[in-house]
Amino acid sequence: MQNWFSENINFGILISTLLLVLIGLGSIYSATYDAGASDFFNRQLIWAGIGLVAMLVVMFVPFRTLQLLSYPLYIFSILMLIAVLIFGKTVAGSKSWFGFGTFGLQPSEFVKVTCVLALATYLSDKKINLSRFKNLIVALLIVLIPVVLIIRQPDVGTAIIYILMLIPVLYWAGASLTLLLIIISPAAAAVAALFGITPFLIVLAALLITFFVLKENKLISAIIFSITVLVGVSVQFIYGKLAPYQQKRIDAFLNPEADPLGSGYNVIQSKVAIGSGGVFGKGFLEGSQTQLNFIPAQWTDFIYCVPAEEFGFVGSILILILFAYILFRSINVASTAKSRYASLVTMGVVSIFTAHILINIGMVMGIMPVIGVPLPLLSYGGSFLLSTMLMVGLLLNMYINRKEY
């Protein structure tokens, strides 16, 4: 028995996850301590308990059962997503919640899990070939259906996460780089064009370099490049034609923190928080920036500032190491797993985690635009914590079943 456990349980990932949850709880406690908002801490504690149980359950679900359940769960969660648009509760401008008394549920978080499962199931089918147009479209639809529904809420941050999950998974499933470029470059150009002319030009330059490195066919390169330029320019053109207040809406869409306190302010303050932490930090509950005031809703998207200020470089780097460990270790599992399904599920979860970490920590450090995306396992938010722990459960499950075909 002892042997079975050490053989099949990935203690490294399990312990890293638990440590990150504990760091998150401590940070939320600190961030809300001064305001007497222990409510946040208590709720997160309850959710962490629920999440732990859910994680263990998912971990031990039989491999075949999980595969069989993938499609039904996906369809059920999409129905939830439609239901929330009709019956949901509006919180901070987004209709993304089901309210049950004081607890709320956000279906879009759980769709992340089922979407990964469905996509993995589809792509692991031997008959599926991504170079066939029909198969590619189905794979895209599995992700784009929830994306469209989530954009309607509207919750652009979460929608971006789905796209950032799709591309690596397609790549892992064997899509050619040309195919990926056709998908990525117009989308990247459209988003970059909204942020301004310089980001747009950077995207174009990156595209040219990629063509050069990949020694891509000249005709195909030219077509992809022209489409990308066309999309970018028309986005800029349409944006320019909009009334100022409509432009403002788009700006706020891309940059929700800009309103009403200003993203510039948040980023200054989060940089001050991180920087002032120094090497060893100011000590638990001693972070003067942290105590609720300088960064609005710090316990959600800006949670990383808290350990960074109170535990300095030591605390900041510990969190990065724990995340990096989970991600690198999981990629390793994915590359050795015997079943294509297990491999793809693992990479789906890895991609979602990476997208969250990249956007969130990048934003908090002031090197990425401010997009409202929480940090896995640390940020306050019940549905998000629960869905993240479900995904860790999947990682652990895939590890147990890595030798299954």
Binding site: I268, G275, S276, L292, T354
Partner: protein, 607 residues
């Protein structure tokens, strides 16, 4: 196995990308926490950049002629930043501010709980002397500053207290409920238009990033103010109000208790809405001294109570037209149907009185002379269900939906109501007789009666009463015209004609009860009413409209506990109509004989 080989090469791509991401993060951490940690540490310990909210100007309000009725003027608040404030200075501060020590301490504690780095307002609208003291002791009083905040100012003679409303400091429970936009110490609309249009009037807060030195002194704006967010002024309201009529009505009721509601019969716009006694809204803009609050709340005349929309009194004879309209429209009677009035009416063992012996009277004459006996009989003939159905059509028993939030639905009894109240079969027709003359279990507000006068004036168009005509949005530079809601009460042309003729005669033909509402050069139509009141003298009512041919104003006047409607309410209505239609009071210039008011005033007489 080939699969794992491809995975292997792809794995390296992922390793490289993730590696780059984490290396960038590591580099940034080293940059922030090693290289710049001193700079950021200093900024943090000095709390070098402070985020100060800049209060926007609250939206202005203009009357229908473009006269500014609600304005802003500058005021200064003294604030304390809790984290910087030293408790040993508490005494000095309270002395300068002339406040109770406990109150100052409590305010600082409250602010500390919310955000100890953010300035909390200690005293609003301080005088110049206090301000100069604060300035003088600024070296000693760390964390004590002052900030500019606009205050409400009312440039006209009118108070408009219940209509325009007042503002107050946000309460803790409101703060928890409304969240987001508001902070402790913010101002919020508490009643009237200020509350109803809070969302528009409040504007958008600005934020200034202010750099301060180690002593907490302000050095200047961070980044030359480029990172500041400018406040957006609140949206202006263009009202249907005529502030001169409002002021006149207020002065006419100055020593009385009562209400005036005047309404434009062409769109339902409120011309004036007065409730007396009232209060000076300027006293309630911001922090209201405790003694002022106590005085307003314990005053037995209830100055905070909006009599124009919240009273619930029987309408008296002003309700007779409703019965007449119902009976004529349903064909229960025609214009020639007569009742021989002998001065009283006996039903069962009860005697219902009238003021005069009117003799044979038809419907037009009955309205003109306010014959009670006619309407006692007509009520029995028409019956409760029909009467109640028409009452509902005219908006009685339901709130009008006016845009100043507080209003009463009133009481319009139906068979159901009596069954519930007395039990089925346990009430008789006798209960109904007095409803015919607007007495008994019946309650209306002056606003509802004014709306009813409007419908009589325009022959059936019920416009939803409203005060705001247009919202001038500041941010998008758009004007939002408030859509007027209208429903048509369809009655036969002759029916309206008869009833309106009765109203015309009631004011203009001798023997009419509303003669004192006359206005030189204009034909006024109207009806007086006197409501029985078990607690004292009767309440005087008048409703009317003018000009008769082409109505531009409909009005309802209520004066509480004075007696006769024709004596006390009708002249007020006449003057308001005159002011509205001429833009001034002309009768004094015309050298006309003064109005002669009837001198008799007998308790049991119903006009």
């Amino acid at each position: 196995m080939t699969e794992n080989v491809t995975y292997h090469s792809r794995k390296n791509v992922f390793y490289v990308i993730l590696g780059i991401v984490f290396l960038v993060f590591l580099g940034r951490l080293i940059q922030l926490q090693f290289l710049y940690s001193e700079k950021y540490g200093k900024m943090s310990s000095e709390n070098a950049i402070r985020n100060v909210a800049v209060a926007p100007l609250r939206g202005y309000m203009y009357d229908r002629n473009g006269i500014l009725v609600v304005d802003n003027r500058p005021a200064y608040n003294v604030t304390v930043t809790p984290v910087e404030f030293e408790n040993k200075n508490l005494e000095l501060l309270t002395e300068i501010l002339k406040m109770e020590k406990g109150e100052v301490r409590e305010r600082i504690e409250k602010g500390k709980k919310y955000n100890r780095f953010s300035p909390v307002k200690i005293k609003r609208d301080v005088d110049f002397q206090t301000l100069s003291f604060v300035e003088e002791y600024s070296g000693q009083l760390k964390g004590v500053e002052y900030q500019f905040e606009p205050k409400r100012y009312y440039p006209t003679k009118a108070h408009g207290s219940h209509l325009l409303g007042y503002i107050k400091e946000i309460t803790e429970s409101q703060l928890q409920k409304l969240g987001e936009f508001y902070r402790q110490g913010d101002i919020i609309g508490a009643s009237g238009l200020e509350a109803g249009y809070e969302k528009y009037l409040r504007g958008k807060k600005g934020f200034e990033l202010i750099t301060v030195d180690a002593e907490g002194k302000i050095i200047g704006n961070y980044n030359d103010g480029k990172s500041d967010i400018q406040p957006v002024e609140g949206d202006d309201l263009e009202l249907t109000l005529d502030i001169k009529v409002q002021a006149l009505a207020e002065s006419l009721l100055s020593d009385k208790r009562g209400a005036v509601v005047a309404i434009d019969p062409n769109d339902g716009g409120i011309i004036a809405l007065v409730s007396k006694p009232d209060f000076n809204p300027e006293l309630l803009s911001g922090v209201t001294p405790l003694n002022v609050w106590q005085q307003l709340n314990t005053d037995p005349t209830k100055p905070l109570f909006n009599r124009a929309t919240l009273t619930n009194y029987p309408p008296g004879s002003t309700f007779k037209m409703l019965l007449a309209l119902a009976a004529l429209q349903e064909g229960i009677i025609d214009e020639n149907w007569r009742v021989n009035c002998r001065g009283s009416f006996t039903f069962g063992n009860k005697v219902f009185k009238d003021m005069h012996v009117h003799g044979p009277t038809n419907v037009v004459e009955a309205i003109q002379r306010s014959c009670n006996v006619f309407f006692y009989q007509l009520m029995l003939k028409t019956g409760l269900p029909t009467w109640s159905r028409y009452g509902k059509q005219f908006g009685f028993g339901t709130p009008t939906g006016i845009d100043i939030l507080e209003e009463n639905s009133g009481l319009l009894p139906s068979e159901e109501y009596y069954n519930r109240r007395y039990g089925k079969g346990r009430w008789t027709q006798g209960y109904l007789v007095s409803l015919g003359i607007g007495q008994g279990e019946l309650g209306v507000s002056p606003l509802q009666l004014a709306a009813y006068a409007m419908v009589l004036a325009n022959e059936g168009k019920y416009y939803k009463p409203h005060v705001v005509d247009k919202i001038k949005e500041k941010e998008n530079k758009k004007n939002i015209k408030i859509q007027t809601e209208m429903r048509q009460i369809n009655l036969k042309k002759e029916v309206w004609k008869s009833v309106r003729e009765g109203l015309y005669r009631a004011v203009n033909v001798s023997g009419g009860t509303g003669a004192s509402a006359r206005v030189p050069g204009i034909n006024v139509a109207g009806k007086t009413g006197t409501a029985q009141n078990p607690h004292g003298k009767d309440h005087a009512w008048f409703i009317g409209f003018a000009p008769y041919e082409n109505p531009k104003i409909a009005i309802c006047v209520l004066v509480e506990n004075v007696g006769y409607g024709g004596v006390f309410a009708a002249p007020i209505a006449g003057l308001c109509i005159e002011q509205f239609l001429y833009g001034e009071i002309i009768r004094n210039k015309l050298n006309q004989p003064k109005l002669i008011l009837p001198k008799t005033e007998t308790e049991q007489i119903r006009d």
